[in-house]
């Protein structure tokens, strides 16, 4: 493996500063007030709305859209944050096309859903721009909770725990908080330092201390945390990547897509970032798309995504695939990397085309490539001893409880994590409520699973029932 080593053909400054500023700017510009009201007006305020069910954090979407329509985006933001305190980021990075907007009845009716993600961003940006943080902490309980990882799961958990009156310390391995929001998502989805701005906003709840560059296993141990804190939440995500082993895996000019994206996100001058002339990304998820599109935007001559199955099985959504191809990325499906060829640095890839049975069809391609990015999966790395695992991740129940008393987990380091910010936020939130319930067993009145009012429809008769039994089938 030669992660991060460059090939001689990589060049920086392939594109002008103006081109970089334009193409790495906001993918979906913020609505103005009129656009937002027009977009909000399209919402039908569905009964028992399918979009709510489709949202992992169960935001009352029709309610917040109605609040925008009624001229109160600030109230809308509160509705969103009650369920999802990272609603600002989720509005930017959620694959809404496979979540709320896919479920929208107008998607079914006319192939054009209510633009829920952009409306959510309009609401949350409105209140964040005004510098409003509408939550206060409950009276101090004197309890202390450790959170490992300042990514979406950890931040969500920390905010809810702090709001309930407990003191929180977050231990973060990297130099900055935010997790994948800061290091792992394409720049054009969250420009202008939004990830850090959101963390700063979230911390205004108070009672949360972040200790950066504290890695579990090397700088701190789970045993120590369990001794010093009343509860521990593990939300460290997936620190490792799945390796590719094969002929030529020692050539220079190849690396992990997550590292490429992280370097790009932390760069203060995109024009100084070198990129290959012929980039190939192996993988089919959103990380593969983010890496491919951004390498193209940096000025790579050709960019190809190699995916081993048929394109319609790519984990990245169809919308993401279309974004990639619209930027000039080629998607080569049913293609498996066999060998990396080059004199010291990667120069060419030998690729087998495969059938549905994953067996080579006999067709062999040779692709010019001087930069190879791997996005074939991330794995848990350095899990603490003593925790039961499930599929290489931390086993946890629906409340986030692990096999160790007093230890909860959520986000991508657990099996239920599905590489989505919004799912991690939900898990962190729900674990926080369970932590609170356990810590305050003497005060059950403080234990609500949700801050919000009960969702509309929750008290209605179950589907198919009416007040008139026997009058319909």
């Amino acid at each position: 493996m030669a992660d991060g080593s460059q090939a001689g053909s990589w060049k920086s400054g392939r594109r002008t500063p103006e081109e970089l500023e334009r193409d790495f700017g906001d993918l979906h510009p913020l609505y103005d007030a009129h656009e937002a009201r027009v977009a909000a007006d399209r919402c039908y305020f569905c009964y028992d709305a399918p979009c709510i069910t489709a949202c992992p954090t169960a935001i009352d979407i029709p309610l917040f859209i109605r609040q925008i329509q009624a001229g109160q985006p600030g109230s809308a933001a509160k509705t969103i944050w009650d369920q999802n305190v990272l609603g600002g980021m989720c509005a930017r990075v959620c694959p809404t096309e496979t979540l709320c907007e896919e479920a929208c009845v107008r998607e079914a009716a006319e192939g054009r859903p209510v633009e829920i993600g952009r409306l959510q961003r309009y609401a949350t940006d409105t209140l964040m721009t005004q510098g409003v943080h509408p939550y206060e902490r409950a009276a101090s309980t004197g309890r202390r909770v450790a959170v490992v990882g300042a990514g979406p799961a950890g931040l969500s958990c920390a905010h809810r725990v702090a709001m309930r009156g407990h003191d929180v310390v977050i231990f973060e391995a990297r130099p900055k908080p935010g997790g994948l929001n800061e290091y792992g998502i394409a720049a054009y989805k969250t420009p202008d330092g939004f990830a850090q701005a959101e963390v700063d906003w979230l911390l205004r709840i108070g009672g949360i201390e972040i200790r950066e560059e504290h890695r579990l296993g090397s700088d701190i141990s789970l045993d120590t945390l369990r001794g010093e804190f009343d509860a521990v939440f593990l939300g460290m995500g997936l620190g490792g990547t799945r390796a590719w082993k094969g002929p030529g895996d020692d050539k220079a000019g190849q690396g992990e897509a997550v590292h490429f994206i992280a370097d790009l996100r932390q760069s203060s001058d995109l024009g100084a970032l070198p990129v290959g002339g012929d980039v190939v990304v192996v993988g089919g998820g959103m990380t593969a798309v983010d890496a491919a599109v951004q390498s193209k935007l940096l000025g790579a001559g050709t960019v190809t995504i190699l995916y081993r199955r048929a394109q319609d099985r790519m984990p990245a959504s169809r919308w993401e695939q279309d974004l990639a191809t619209s930027k000039g990325v080629r998607i080569l499906d049913r293609a498996v990397l066999r060998e990396i060829v080059g004199n010291g640095a990667v120069a060419e890839l030998i690729v087998d085309r495969v059938g549905d049975d994953m067996q080579p069809t006999g067709e062999v391609l040779r692709l010019a490539c001087d930069q190879l990015l791997r996005a074939i999966g991330q794995v848990a790395d350095g899990l603490p001893d003593g925790l039961e695992t499930d599929g290489g991740k931390i086993a946890a129940d629906a409340r986030g409880r692990t096999s160790l008393p007093g230890v909860w987990a959520g986000g991508d380091c657990t099996p239920a994590g599905d590489d989505l910010t919004v799912t991690a936020v939900a898990q962190g939130r729900d674990a926080a409520e369970d932590i609170h319930a356990v810590l305050m067993a003497a005060a059950p009145a403080r234990t609500g699973a949700l801050v919000a009012e009960p969702l509309r429809g929750i008290d209605a008769p179950p589907h198919g029932e009416t007040p008139h039994p026997g009058t319909h089938g």
Binding site: V38, D41, Y47, D48, A109, G464, T466, H472
Partner: protein
């Protein structure tokens, strides 16, 4: 293309679309452009008596009510009658009429409620060559505080009296413009008939406050922190206007007096509806003020195309066609039993019908776990609310139960013979009559 030529109380116009007395008809420049665009006639903005003209406020004159995407649904105004000198208006009216002899030129008038005032102005208007006059008994703001406009229109005796003066002092046809700010418009219309008026036009604008500025705690439009009621018009008032037009059209005491319909006419269809309920021409203001004079092309073409499709050869043939079907509630057939039907292929599963019926009506819609919505006939009273709230046109329809079938809600057999409230056993007056 159907011939849209209209003869209304002897006033001919190439089509039934007139611009109502309002800012669009305040001066020669506008009216020439309106005629060039194709409008069939205008009612010149209301003239006042000789002397220093009225003055208008110098702040906002209009307030608005919007629908989706800032679509103007309702407009209110506090503008008064023309604030230009009488002789200027008369000179311009004469010049325009001379150049557009085929167009209807009606002049709106509002002078104090004294015979001398009307006697003084009528010959001067007649001298312009105008085709007729419209008596402004409708404006509900400003002038009404001075005993004119709706202050006259609200007193049937005044309506009759002034109409009679006008008929006495001019040969021009007299149209009385009615205010909707009364309890029963038929009283005003009957007064106009008694006074000898040739026609009525309605509705004028409705007393209104469009909104309140919640920061300044003042009604809008706001003038230096204060506001007053204005006259409401536009698409939002059309249903009210249609009702009042129909009420006059089917009132025996009004004696089929010709009607010029006004109130929210925005497209050809609105015009066709006014005609169907008894109007002979329609007057348009808000739509022109929103979109400009160019809308006349859609209106005339649309009305003509619709008439061609239906086989009508003249707007006068359309006029009043729906009047016989306007009746009293007590005459509605109670044996007409319908049930809502939801087309599962068109349904997009939003559940609005369910929420509306379950929360606010008759709990007559069932929903299955896969969000299939269906009607419970045993509960459905056919109120139509589900149809009205459904976002998909044609998805929910009302299906009539055939005579002879049992209505599962009442257990009664639906009868072929119509039966209404006047003969219903629950009607107390029926019982009294039977005793």
């Amino acid at each position: 293309m159907a011939d849209l030529t209209t003869d209304f109380i002897g006033i001919r116009s190439p089509n039934p679309f007139w611009l109502a007395s309002a800012p669009p008809t305040d001066k020669e420049y506008n009216v020439r452009r309106a005629f060039a665009a194709g409008w069939g006639g205008v009612v010149w903005k209301t003239l006042g008596e000789e002397g220093p003209p009225v003055v208008n406020v110098n702040g906002p004159r209009y307030g608005a009510v919007y629908g989706a995407d800032r679509r103007l649904l309702g407009l209110n105004n506090i503008e008064l009658i023309t604030d230009r000198p009488l002789e200027v208006n008369l000179r311009e009216i004469k010049a325009v009429k001379r150049d557009f002899p085929d167009r209807a030129m009606i002049v709106s008038i509002m002078v104090p409620c004294e015979e001398a005032a009307w006697k003084a102005i009528l010959p001067r208007v007649e001298a312009t060559g105008a085709d007729g006059i419209e008596l402004n008994f409708g404006c509900p703001h400003g002038m009404s505080e001075r005993g004119m406009g709706s202050a006259v229109g609200q007193v049937p005796e005044y309506v009759e009296m002034v109409a009679r003066w006008c008929k006495k002092h001019t040969r021009m046809p007299v149209i009385v413009k009615l205010t909707p700010n009364i309890t029963d418009v038929r009283h005003s219309a009957r007064a106009a008939v008694k006074g000898g008026a040739d026609a009525v036009s309605l509705i004028n604008t409705i007393n209104s406050i469009t909104s309140v500025d919640l920061d300044d705690m003042a009604p809008e439009p706001t003038i230096d922190g204060k506001g007053t009621h204005g006259g409401y018009c536009g698409p939002a008032v059309k249903p009210i206007a249609l009702h009042m037009v129909a009420d006059i059209a089917r009132d025996p005491e009004c004696g089929n007096i010709p009607i010029s319909g006004i109130g929210g006419v925005t497209t050809w269809r609105d015009a066709a509806e006014f005609l169907a309920l008894g109007a002979g021409t329609v007057q348009v203001c808000t739509a022109a003020m929103t979109y400009g004079f160019g809308i006349i092309k859609e209106m005339t073409q649309g009305l003509s195309d619709w008439m061609d499709a239906k086989g009508y050869v003249s707007p006068m043939e359309v006029s009043g066609r729906a009047v016989p079907n306007v009746t009293d509630w007590q005459r509605l057939n109670l044996e007409y039993v319908t049930k809502a039907r939801i087309d599962p292929d068109l349904c997009i599963k939003c559940g609005r019908c369910y929420a509306a019926c379950e929360d606010t009506s008759h709990q007559a819609i069932a929903v299955s776990p896969d969000r299939t919505f269906s009607v419970i006939d045993a509960e459905c009273v056919a109120c139509n609310l589900c149809v009205d709230v459904c976002p998909v046109e044609g998805c929910i329809t009302m299906e009539r139960l055939a005579p002879g079938t049992i209505d599962p809600r009442t257990g009664r057999e639906v009868r072929a013979e119509p039966a209404d409230w006047t003969t219903h056993p629950n009607n107390p007056s029926v019982k009294v009559a039977a005793e």
